[in-house]
């Protein structure tokens, strides 16, 4: 995925992305100069226990750092996993971490403040979003896995002011509809805690010691236990918050069933937003198999949602635009539906991480990932007739 530095005096200048490989890293591109550097690199490759793998998330925090996380965790019912992965990391000096050149050595990352934030329980991470109150939402990417919320112990205003550490302590919850036993359930939900306010597993939660000796709460396997049962969803992937007037909604892509869900964070209700029955705006018929493997989500300056598929470039890898004319959270009204906005022609590849520049209305980026050629790319998308500049640094 992609993000710019969304805060600070140089906001909008740098574009960050990550490597979703067996030897992950963080890349920074200076959009003024075009200089692209790796600023953190896994010191070894999987399966070595020092490896960092499958970075997928790439987000800017409200307090001005960059976070990423491993899209890799293991199912171990009743006992928890000892995998070294499933971690969330914070790069605390994303603008000043030096570029890494030459062979990677143990000293290569010396200039980067790259921290495993262990208060966040282990999952196979992808989507991460913050609401206006500072709660952080994340998922477990598994067919039959849950949605989580982390609330920091420190007052959010202090975090934003740089006077408190967001990840020093906090409580994690899992989303449950009803008794949690119905997969893919919609309706009213509650948040069930699996840790205390300091991040320690509640009695009965699975606290594991991984192969590197790090003790963590195992979110996936804990929330399969009856006391902590979360509602299972069909492979949650990306998350995207939408703010409409004074309300917040959280969209979630669910790959296995080709659906997008929408959570009303204020009313605490979850519903299906889009699926294969949604009208294809090009044909007037149901989109059907044309909508396949929704993975990433993005929001443009008008608040429109885009659904990015994880499919086969050159065959059926598309980005869909969701037309919700009255913004009522469904695509069922007259004139509403999904329109195929873009399609990827690179063989073997997939779109990843469409991201609209928050400071320039006429610019966006998307990655072309895992092509058959081996040449992954970041593509910049520009509008020919650009509207007003929205207020970041610009060259």
């Amino acid at each position: 995925m992609l993000t710019v530095n969304e805060t600070g005096r140089q906001r909008g200048r740098f574009l960050f992305t990550v490597f979703e490989t067996g030897s992950s890293g963080v890349q920074r591109q200076d959009l003024w100069s075009g200089v692209t550097e790796t600023v953190w690199q896994s010191p070894c490759a999987a399966p070595a226990s020092c490896a960092h793998v499958a970075f997928d998330a790439s987000y800017w925090t409200p307090w001005g750092t960059c976070i990423t996380a491993e899209e890799n965790w293991s199912t171990a019912p009743g006992v928890g996993s000892t995998s070294p992965y499933g971690r969330l990391f914070e790069l605390k000096n994303p603008l000043t971490a030096p570029g890494i050149y030459g062979p990677v050595t143990p000293a290569s990352n010396a200039g980067a403040e790259f921290v495993h934030q262990n208060v966040i329980p282990r999952t196979s991470h992808e989507g991460i979003q913050f609401d206006r109150n500072g709660a952080m939402y994340f998922i477990d990417e598994l067919n039959g896995a849950s949605i989580y919320k982390y609330v920091p112990k420190a007052p959010f205003k202090r975090v934003l002011a740089g006077r408190a550490d967001y990840f020093a302590a906090g409580q994690t919850f899992v989303l449950r509809v009803g008794d949690g036993q119905t997969p893919n359930a919609t309706g009213a939900y509650t948040w069930v805690p699996l840790t205390d306010g300091d991040g320690n597993g509640l009695p009965g939660a699975l606290v594991v010691t991984d192969v590197n000796g790090v003790r963590s709460v195992d979110a996936r396997n804990t929330t399969d236990l009856p006391a902590f049962k979360g509602t299972d969803y069909p492979r949650p992937e990306d998350l995207q918050i939408q703010r409409l007037k004074h309300r917040e909604f959280l969209f979630m892509a669910a790959t296995t069933t080709n659906e997008v869900y929408r959570l009303d964070l204020d009313a605490q209700v979850i519903a299906v937003f889009a699926n294969r029955s949604t009208i294809d705006l090009a044909t007037g018929a149901a989109v059907g198999a044309g909508l396949a493997s929704p993975d990433n989500l993005a929001l443009d300056h008008e608040g429109n949602l885009y659904v990015i598929e994880d499919r086969n470039g050159g065959v059926d890898d598309d980005i869909w635009f969701a037309q919700d004319l009255n913004q009522d959270g469904d695509l069922l009204d007259e004139g509403e539906g999904l329109g195929r906005w873009a399609s990827n022609g690179t063989p073997g590849s997939e779109f990843s991480g469409l991201y609209f520049d928050p400071f320039r209305k006429g610019r966006a980026w998307v990655n072309i990932q895992h092509p058959s050629s081996g040449n992954d790319r970041t593509i910049q998308i520009d509008l020919h007739d650009v509207g007003e500049h929205a207020g970041g640094t610009e060259r």
Partner: protein, 67 residues
Amino acid sequence: MRLPRARAHMALAGGLLLAGAAALAGSLRFSDFTPLPTSAGPTVDESLPITFGNAAFQQRSIADRAA
């Protein structure tokens, strides 16, 4: 991330251009496109891999692994 919010009022018939009600007249938006009827086939130029629903959308490769 805060984004400006503009209410979109769109008139739609199959195959016609989707256009947002522009706060600035004449400004192109990402929501101005004609829905593609099918997915794109393979491209021969991986530096220009995307087929858009609007020919005015420009693309360029700004970083790649081989560079």
